[in-house]
């Protein structure tokens, strides 16, 4: 099997253009009629659904940002009632509130097609065992690849994340062919194999699909070595669907976007004007194949470029390059989205002064987030026990709000750097 859906993945540009146009028109009516937020925006701009006649008219449409999801928390942007909803997922927001997304049965089916395309592009077959070590739950990683595996007709092993020695045992005993997880966790599993004196060549594992965080070409080589597999990148975000929005083929020079469902644009993040292919800018998606949460021109904040150059794999779907960074301050820590504002929110909620700094390092291929907080008269005590209790309380609150653990370090007052009166909040030492 070379493609999961050759009729789409190798379709002509003309066919895709017609398909995208028809879907955009349908989507715009859905938004106008069923999402008051969009109707209001259209009315303010003097725009009517009938003004959109093809995909080329997409630039007439307004943008949507993460704040819009927050303002309409939790279900305000949904275009369907709960009778049509099939599933909810969520990702962390900036101030404690999560970004909530919904799917109809059709939405899950289309997302699963994307994930199945990714599996096939990574050499997946119907008789494969797919070992899924992404977390299962509100995070889209686990269930996204799980449904993609079932869509393909392969066998899903829903291991979820954690307990690495057990992961290794399952890789050995259950004969997993493909593994799906974050790249840093793949490295960690590889290192665990080494510690356990297991030669990766003795495992049947032949490919891995890794996403949810940025990783470099060097890390790809490392993972390929420690696990003795071929490593593929996958892209997705819950607002659009989840993993499978875009995926790598054997050429590994970018990720093919499922543009029949998720229409991409690259815009200049300052002017919001579209930029030509090959130019880096902010990636924007319009969910032309979504019913429950049909976001129009959603700004992902990921900085990347598109290429429509012919791909040796035969797929005609546009490719996006590896994201180079973000146009906002979001950090990705072990696959979890973390905003500095969330850290500040935790500190303020504990009644402490917001004098803090976040330092991110990658130690043995695992992200470590350290939050340094300046000691104050209120926090200080002559007793080590009391200070340790304070540290534990801060650590617990961080874990609860951020969904990822942080190392908390209390430092002397006025010891954190301030430049031009504005604090330097984040130091990211990861070389990705």
């Amino acid at each position: 099997m070379k493609y999961f859906q050759p009729e789409i993945e190798t379709a002509s540009r003309e066919y895709l253009h017609a398909l995208q146009s028809a879907r955009l028109i349908k989507m715009v009516y859905n938004c106008y009629n069923n999402v008051p937020f969009y109707k209001k925006k259209f009315d303010e701009m003097g725009l009517l659904p009938q003004d959109i006649k093809s995909i080329d008219d997409i630039t007439k449409l307004p943008f949507t940002v993460k704040q819009d999801l927050r303002d309409n928390y939790p279900y305000g942007l949904f275009a369907v009632g709960r009778d049509k909803l099939k599933r909810i997922h969520a990702s962390s927001g900036t101030t404690g509130k999560q970004t909530v997304v919904g799917y109809t049965e059709g939405d899950i089916d289309r997302w699963s097609q994307g994930a199945a395309r990714a599996l096939v592009a990574a050499g997946g077959k119907k008789d494969d065992y797919v070992h899924i070590s992404y977390g299962y739950g509100l995070f889209t990683g686990g269930l996204g690849l799980h449904y993609g595996t079932e869509k393909l007709g392969a066998t899903a092993i829903p291991v979820s994340s954690g307990n690495t020695k057990r992961q290794v045992q399952i890789l050995q005993d259950f004969q997993s062919d493909i593994i799906c997880c974050t790249p840093s966790y793949a490295m960690f599993i590889g290192e665990t194999l080494k510690e356990m004196n297991i030669d990766p060549k003795t495992l049947p594992l032949r490919a891995g699909i890794f996403g949810a965080e940025a990783w470099s070409e060097n890390m790809r080589k490392e993972i390929e070595k420690v696990l003795d597999i071929k490593a593929y990148d996958i892209y997705g975000l819950s607002e659009i669907a989840g993993p499978g929005v875009a995926y790598e083929c054997e050429e590994q020079t970018g990720m093919h976007i499922c543009e029949d469902y998720f229409y991409p644009e690259i815009v200049d993040p300052d002017t919001l004007e579209p930029v030509p292919d090959g130019t880096y800018g902010e990636l924007v998606f319009t969910c032309i194949g979504k019913e429950a949460l049909p976001l129009i021109r959603y700004r992902t904040r990921d900085i990347t470029a598109l290429t429509r150059e012919k791909c040796s794999c035969g797929r005609t779907l546009v490719k996006m390059l590896k994201p180079r960074g973000r146009s906002d301050d979001m950090l990705i820590i072990r696959g979890v989205n973390v905003f500095p504002a969330q850290v500040e929110h935790v500190i303020l909620s504990l009644g402490m002064e917001p004098n803090y700094q976040i330092i991110v390092d990658r130690v043995n291929n695992l992200d470590i987030m350290k939050v340094c907080i300046e000691m104050s008269d209120e926090l200080f005590s002559d007793s080590v026990r009391h200070i340790e209790e304070t540290e534990a309380k801060i650590k617990g609150a961080m874990q609860t709000t951020l969904g990822v653990s942080a190392v908390v370090k209390l430092v002397e007052p006025h010891s954190l750097p301030r430049s031009e009166g504005k604090a330097v909040r984040v130091i990211d030492n990861r070389k990705i």
Binding site: D382, S383, E412
Partner: protein, 142 residues
Amino acid sequence: MTIKQISVFVENKEGRLAEITNVLAENQIDIRALSIADTTDYGILRLIVNDPEKAVKVLKEAKLTVSPTDVLAVGVDDTPGGFAKAIGVLSEAKIGVEYAYAFVTPTVGKAYVILRVNDNDLAAKALEAAGFEPLNQSELFS
């Protein structure tokens, strides 16, 4: 009958302790006793000084985190079993000791113990009843 102890938050950085004690030296503050509680990342410097109010003021001016605490200072015999006797009194009265440190003075035969307990009044009464005399600030520096 308590005395003021001053605690200072010290990050584990080279030269930090020297800088802090220099602040006290420059301001003519006399240190009678000290102890350092250390952890991996930081330490707590605990001081008994002749002028705690001035010490707090100058340390705060040097942008340090300072906290004054009431502690007990008790004279014990500088002989084997001297400290054990005082601690035994507190133990019998079921008074918890958070930490303690000792120092000697030129007066031969006497040692002094700084005690941080969970109840100063109760501890002082128990010690007095057993013949110990907690010192006040001026006695400590006379």
